[in-house]
């Protein structure tokens, strides 16, 4: 795994100050290796979304260096961001459509991915006919259909109820074990961070304060979340989070 293999995200000494003078980030060093799942936890306003937007190329750093070697980067927003006039299937097809992927090919792929997120039966439904959890599944399918080597998630499960949230964590964890992509995943849930990722980065105001490695290989059984070893790791992250903020 050289730093140049596709799917690497690297931020070195990155700072971001917005036009209005708000300094959101200072001296961020962060690497996501190919196929690695890294989560960022931190209180709201600490700069998590800003890091993702930098990684996606939506904004530029004020200082420091940012390297993304991914061929395809996908973004999953906090809100499902589905186009309400399109069916679930056509929402998943959107990115292929924008990139002029032939119709038959993009449809086949979209159906496969919808099946993978458990929505084979909902392909013809419009977003308004779907529950919040189902809409987020469509949103994840839309991100995965592009076969990204790097996926960026901005608190995608934050607005969902606990049960839906747990089932989506399990789903993502499965998808992650099967597909080959690196991911940077933002959450403010410590348990979610520990369950999903290989490494948890703990953020304080505008900086990364600590890092915790999570030992278990993927796929991780859902019961792992109720084990004592899991609680120990989560406890450490929580303590670091409190220290940082």
């Amino acid at each position: 795994m050289t730093p140049e293999s596709p799917g690497t995200l690297r931020l070195t000494g990155v700072s971001k100050t917005f036009e209005d003078g708000t300094t959101a980030l200072t001296g961020i060093d962060l690497t996501v290796a190919p196929g690695e799942l890294v989560t960022l936890v931190g209180p709201s306003g600490c700069g998590k979304t800003t890091i993702l937007r930098l990684a996606a190329g939506l904004i530029a750093p004020s200082e420091g260096e940012l390297t993304v070697t991914a061929d395809t980067t996908s973004f999953v927003f906090q809100d499902p961001t589905l186009l309400e006039w399109r069916t679930a299937l056509r929402n998943v097809e959107l990115v292929g459509e924008l990139r002029h992927v032939p119709r038959a090919e993009r449809r086949t792929r979209a159906l496969e991915v919808l099946d993978a997120v458990g929505l084979a039966d909902a392909a013809a439904k419009h977003p308004r006919q779907l529950s919040g959890g189902m809409r987020m599944r469509v949103s994840i399918a839309r991100a995965l259909v592009a076969q990204p080597d790097l996926a960026l998630f901005d608190e995608p499960f934050g607005a969902l109820d606990e049960i839906t949230r747990l089932s989506l964590q399990t789903l993502l964890q499965d998808l992650f074990a099967r597909a080959e992509f690196g991911a940077l995943f933002i959450t403010h849930s410590v348990n979610e961070a520990v369950y999903l990722s290989d490494r948890v980065l703990v953020m304080g105001q505008g900086r990364i304060a600590a890092e915790v490695a999570v030992p278990w290989p993927h796929p991780r059984p859902p019961e792992l979340r109720y084990s004592a070893e899991f609680a120990a790791v989560a406890g450490r992250v929580s303590a670091l989070l409190e220290e940082a903020s």
Binding site: A56, G57, L58, T73, S74, F75, F77, Q78, D79, T81, L83, E84, W85, L94, V95, E97, L98, R99, H126, R128, Q129
Partner: protein, 267 residues
Amino acid sequence: MTGPTASRSLPGWLTQATSVVAALLGIGLVWTFVSLVVLTPERRFLLPPPTQVLGTLGNPTIMTPMLAALGRTTLVALVGLAIAVVVGLVWAVLMAQSRWVERILYPYAVILQTIPILALTPLIGIWFGYGIPARVVVAVIIAIFPLISNTFFGLTAAPSPASHDLFTLARASRWQRLVKLQAPAAVPSIFTGLRTAAGLSVIGAIVGDFFFQQGEVGIGGLLRVYTLRLNMEALLTAVGLTALFGVLVFSVFAALDRFVVGRWYGR
């Protein structure tokens, strides 16, 4: 998203129809009272009782030209509306392209909206003549603003910032963004604008009839003729027909709005 809408009691159109009938009955009662009780017999010509006015509906020498005139006005309104839709949408799409174009084009829209049509009629007459084309121009001017403003608002404000990010990340072209994001997101507000503009195009056509009387007469022209002759029965019938017509046009476009937007958005 809202759940199933209230369908407990009467269907919507029936409730609406009931209230329209109730309103008409109310008007009829007050009208009869004023005509027969308030006005003395020698002043009753100012407001003849409803029965007498409704009588003109069976009089072909009045009704034939009146319906023909209403037909012409309808045509002027529809042509005016069609032009307003095309020009208004293009205008809004151009304005949505950049702040720069917006700053240039928006003031003209506001001027069109705020300038009293009376002040423009001499110019319209000189440029377009005093017949049907001038009437169409008046209809366009009066109807166009809600189309421009609602379309522009829909194109710029309806898509969420996140959905714009989605398109940016997919490296969508400006055209793709317009056609696949902004335009579909703007559909509900475009239809709101269309509904308002449809009603206004009727007003515009009647105002146009009133000012530009060359060529075949429209209902606005007849209103003027009846007024000059103090033909109150015909005048009141024409006013009533015009009002009904306005309501009809508005309802047709409201139904179209519900049908199209409802199908797309479930609203």
